[in-house]
Amino acid sequence: MVSTSAEGLGLTPRTPVEVPADSAEPENYLNVTYGVKSWLLTLDHKRIAVLYLISVSIAFFLGGIAAALVRINLLQPQGYLLSPETYNKMFTAHGILMVFFFLIPAIPATLGNFLVPMMLGAKDLAFPKLNLLSWYLYIIGFALSLAALVLGGVQTGWTFYAPLSSQYTNGPVVLVALGIFIAGFSSILTGLNFIITIHKMRAPGMTWFRMPLFLWSMYATSLIQVLGTPVVAITILLLAVEIIFKAGVFDATTGGDPVLFQHLFWFYSHPAVYIMLLPGMAVISELITCFSRKPVFGYRFVAFSSMAIAVISFLVWGHHMFTTDQSPLASTVFSVLSFLVAIPSAVKVFNWTATLYKGSIRLTTPMLYALGFIGLFCIGGLTGLHLASMATDIHLQDTYFVVAHFHYVMVGSTVMAYLGGVHFWWPKITGRMYPEGWGRTAAITLFVGFSLTFTPQFIAGYNGMPRRYAMYAPEYHVMNVLSTAGATIMGLGYLLPVLYLLWSLKYGEKAGPNPWRATGLEWQTASPPTTFNFDRTPVVTIGPYAYSAESDEIEDAHYDMQRAQMEYEAAQAKIAADRRLSEMSDGHTAEGQEMIAKATSQSGDEEAPRGH
């Protein structure tokens, strides 16, 4: 089970990679220099991507522990494990770690960092030093927030609503917020770097419409990062000023406006949802096309839908505030715009699905994640309509329905895409294949665990269970137990990739430059790539997805036939050899009997010379 590779999926390269077992690995970005310093001072976008990969994985793991404690506590209506205070600190930590330190950087800063220059045919990002700085800002922010969350803990939720976070809390809110503030600049710098790189560093012939869709989505994401993140920085700054100097910005008793905080917060945080989601969509486009061996259907529509999402996402923040005293007219406008932002997402889903038509589909691990993404994203996206519509949102706002909805989008979609992407580009990043059988097992486990965790939360939410409750009414008990059971399965599903991916670093099969026979520029160079990615700058003459399902089928059939022929011949030879051997040992032939007799007499004689 462990050793299954891409073979059998028709993805083994025609000419197997010939790497003599004892020869030294060719120079690549991983082995060009060694030592901690060479990593901490690296300017190579690929190494920075690996640094990010490690750091966001730590954030995900810690956020996951907080989630586990939350779910365990909800096993009993009166709370199973934690005091309400600790419970509040845990869901706050879960939200902050997952949103600001995992989801936002996850795909752009790891896969994006690694792939944007490679897909463009460039040596590196436009500003390598800025790139390293952005990692350091992330780490400083992460360390600060984490220390404050672990040592003190805050009970504000990741949303930090004033005046709860300003006048009525005694935890280290300012420190946690400062960490997010600093990490925000990391996000801005990464976005800036990507925008400039995509504008200025495309290889000769790489026109905008020859770019892989991954880059279009990354570009849209970067725009939101650059334009949106400063607003959350301002909001956090105002909150800090409010707490430290009692400035009265959000404090109603001194003429401030508590709802202003929500406007500012969601002005960033709704677009931020798309900072988390668009990169997921970026990955899915690449996976679907490679494993159906077909160009993405409606390339331009998929590309422009990313841009449409980026633009409209800035105009929908008020849909988080239908139960505030926001004017009904404003709510109406926000409602209709929220319905509109659903359309480009739907267009993407339909185009991905149509890509499968007349394809040659291979259910590899990344493809399973991609197909899982589409299904879960349908549910996550469409339940967004329940919340975009004002009448139903009044009931559903601040209940578990909302929790289920955004977890379908953030976990069911983004995390699935992230894992799919990590598996897909793992051979490029590390030079090794992950074990395919384990990969598929984990993908299916995650899908099942996820559905069991979050579907009951829709029901609990519709029945009125408010979110952020440490204790709850007994009629929600069953749904919560189901949800915790699902979370356990999900936890296992996350643990598996950690184990087998680490295992594959040493024992995984050598991947070769292009194990998936994919068409992007990143696959036209060695795995792992050299420091400057390409031996010479590639020249682009065609679009990004030169796949043909039909010819792949023919080639694969031919390849299968050759394989079968070889296996047949090998089997024949083995049978013949076995038969000869058994005939000999049974002594059916005179020659054989002679041989046996000889062997028996010799074995006695040979005892003696051993003494020498």
Partner: protein, 374 residues
């Protein structure tokens, strides 16, 4: 304490049916589209899996009609749902004019509910079946949110301002009252119940328990204790606006501007509603009754939110000497873009008057001359 599974929440108020219909339509759309996409995926994966014999020649890479169709059809569906939802939302938002009034004060971590008749409750709201009830809500500290799932109503509750919520219970029973906006350590303990009684039982309930004084009479007491009557009373020597008939009336105010003498600031008209009176008590220099000097001291910190609504309730009962009843216009809808539309809506909903109103009104003192109360 048996943990029965609940899959469908009870519908116990007039708003619930409409919201549920829309909810289930949306859910139907969700399931339908997800199913269509999933079926298509499974079908394609089976039909076009690697090695399966299938026609793969000339795969289409773009199809304008198809793109327009799957942009246009979802758009139309979305706009249809938006229309439905918005009409329903505005319908649900209109407060009937004859609604019973209850004042709600949220504080960490309890709900205090005051009936104008004098009864008050903690974490429990008792209301009659079949009559609209309007809650006027404020918070002593952080943001809370008043949520009754069985009624499908929810509204955030803020410090320093008033929000409104109304419902008309259709079934007697006991329902959940939740705080839906995270409000600190014991957020999940800020729960209570809503008890809907048949009208007769409700009348009886009102007469029992801690009925010492109506809200208005407690307000009147505070009005004297804190010296408000010294300036605003009939015989005062200080020049301060008289408050008789002020509630709900259009009043000219001046909003001071830095560097401009007050007499040069043009007056504008506002409605003297609960917000205005509340703010005049705690922030008296923000909106000054036109023509008066800004000499009123702030009562911020000296009166709790609870006491302020009692004073407001008292002021509402004050009538002009000729008996003009300004008090009736309190059934407006807060937060409408302008007063004009609020006014039209009021006229529309006024038609939903029902029997059994007058006796309640008599007790709340809305139609009673102030002399009777004093």
């Amino acid at each position: 304490m048996q943990s029965s599974i609940s899959l469908l929440p009870e519908q116990s108020a007039t708003q619930a049916g409409g919201i549920d219909a829309l909810f289930w339509f949306l859910t139907f759309i969700t399931v339908l589209f997800t199913a269509l996409v999933c079926i298509a995926i499974v079908y394609f994966v089976v039909r076009y899996r690697r090695g399966a014999k299938a026609d793969r020649s000339n795969p289409p890479l773009e199809h304008m009609t198809l793109e327009l169709a799957w942009t246009g059809i979802p758009l139309l569906i979305c706009l249809f749902i938006f229309g439905w939802s918005t009409v329903l939302y505005f319908k649900n938002r209109l407060v009937p004019r004859d609604a019973l009034e209850v004042y709600v004060v949220g504080k960490q971590w309890m709900w205090k509910l005051q009936h104008p008749e004098g009864r008050w409750e903690m974490n429990k709201l008792t209301v009659p079946m079949g009559r609209p009830v309007k809650l006027t809500m404020t918070s002593e500290d952080v943001i809370h949110s008043f949520f009754i799932p069985e009624f499908r109503v929810k509204m955030d509750v803020y410090p320093g301002r008033f929000t409104e919520l109304w419902f008309k219970p259709t079934k007697a029973g006991t329902y959940h009252l939740f705080c839906a906006e995270f409000c600190g350590t014991l957020h999940s303990g800020m729960v209570g119940e809503v008890v809907v009684l048949p009208p007769a039982e409700y009348e009886a309930w009102l007469q029992t328990g801690n009925v010492n004084k109506t809200m208005a009479s407690r307000g009147e007491q505070l009005f004297r204790q804190h010296g408000c009557s010294g300036c605003h009373g009939q015989n005062s020597r200080v020049r301060a606006p008289y408050l008789e008939g002020i509630y709900g009336a259009q009043r000219p105010v001046q909003i001071p501007k830095a560097g401009v003498p007050l007499e040069n600031v043009p007056a504008r008209t506002i409605t003297a509603d609960i917000r205005y009176i509340h703010d005049s008590i705690v922030l008296p220099n923000e909106e000054i009754a036109a023509g008066f000097k800004p000499i009123m001291p702030s009562y911020k910190g000296r009166l709790s939110e609870e006491e302020i609504v009692q004073i407001v309730e008292y002021i509402r009962t004050l009538k002009t000497s000729n008996g003009t009843d300004n008090g009736l216009s309190h059934g407006g809808i807060q937060g409408y873009p302008n007063n004009a539309s609020g006014g039209t809506n009021r006229t529309n909903t006024n038609r939903t008057g029902d029997v059994g109103t007058s006796d309640i009104r008599a007790r709340t003192g809305i139609n009673t001359p102030p002399a009777n109360l004093r």
